[in-house]
């Protein structure tokens, strides 16, 4: 597998496992947080719009 002899070798990253995996984890976390916050905001917007529409239907 690439430049590593085994999967455990890959996980170990030549003794730098903590640094490599920590940075990749932080990066992925921030990526996901960006997408998630966007998705939540979008859902909140449409939920609010839906409630408004329903209220207007009831009122009319």
């Amino acid at each position: 597998m690439g430049y590593f002899n085994s999967f455990s070798d890959f996980l170990d990253m030549g003794g730098h496992a903590l640094y490599v995996w920590l940075s990749y984890a932080i990066t992925l976390l921030i990526f996901i947080a960006n997408i998630l916050s966007l998705w939540l905001k979008k859902r909140a917007f449409f939920n609010l719009a839906k409630r408004h529409a329903k209220r207007e239907q009831r009122n009319s």
Partner: protein, 250 residues
């Protein structure tokens, strides 16, 4: 003074047109980002050869350098958008700048965090007052200030204009800050081993890096357009096209 701009420039000024246009581009950038980042991650982590000096810890380069590039590009983009917004009083441009700010801040945080983590095996400390890291930290402060200014105004469009002025002031300052920090660094520290500057990187290393940079750009474009579209909807929620769009969704 009247400058005649091409037609598409004025079309961009229309919220509905921009919303639709970005809606067409969005899936393409999302797919490209997914592909490029996926390939880049695997290539960088598995198939790129280890560095002869730093061993495997250098693999952080594949996420550190692109985020540092993006953090700076994002500020440039915000400055251009702010300038357009102020000169042509273009709401969409202001909204683009506003949507870009949190993404740019996250990219700066990634660059700082990965740089600090990378510093531990390279320099032996979690934080070193290295010129580039320090400039990145100041860039983060600038982003924080701009985001704080947006949220301080209850009138969104005033907040956008205020932040646009601050962004342009920041843009003028960035080269001065960079220069002063570099000078300060050479004064106080003997030339240290910089993280990324290396004599002629072999293609097995810079090719995955290039893929990652492109992937980051696509991901950034995707996030930016998605955020802008949502912000457009929120801001135009009284206009007929948004109401029609909501009714369609329900």
């Amino acid at each position: 003074m009247k400058i005649n701009m091409p037609r598409w420039f004025y079309q961009l000024a229309s919220p509905k047109w921009s919303y639709d246009f970005m809606g067409i581009l969005l899936p393409w950038f999302a797919t490209a980002a997914l592909l490029l980042l996926g390939v880049g991650f695997v290539w960088g982590l598995v198939f790129a050869p280890p560095d002869y000096q730093q061993g495997n810890s250098y693999r952080i380069i594949f996420i550190h350098v692109p985020s540092a590039i993006l953090a700076q590009s994002c500020f440039m983009l915000m400055a251009v958008a702010s300038g357009i917004g102020l000169v042509w009083k273009m709401k969409v441009a202001h909204i683009v700048a506003k949507s870009a700010a949190p993404i740019g801040a996250s990219m700066t945080i990634i660059a700082l965090a990965t740089g600090a983590i990378w510093g531990k095996p390279t320099w032996g400390a979690w934080w070193v007052w290295d010129a580039r890291l320090t400039s990145m930290l100041i860039l983060l402060f600038l982003y924080v200030g701009i985001i704080a200014l947006y949220s301080a105004f209850s009138n969104k469009s005033s907040g956008e204009q205020a932040a646009a002025i601050l962004t342009l002031v920041g843009l003028v300052n960035i080269p001065i800050i960079k220069y002063s920090v570099e000078w300060w660094n050479t004064l106080h520290q003997p030339a240290t081993f910089t993280l990324t500057k290396k004599p002629a990187m072999p293609p097995e290393m810079w090719l995955p890096l290039l893929v990652m940079v492109l992937g980051y750009y696509c991901f950034f474009a995707f996030l930016l357009m998605a955020r802008t579209r949502l912000e457009l909807l929120e801001r135009e929620n009284k206009s007929s096209w948004v109401i029609a769009l909501i009714n369609e969704k329900i």
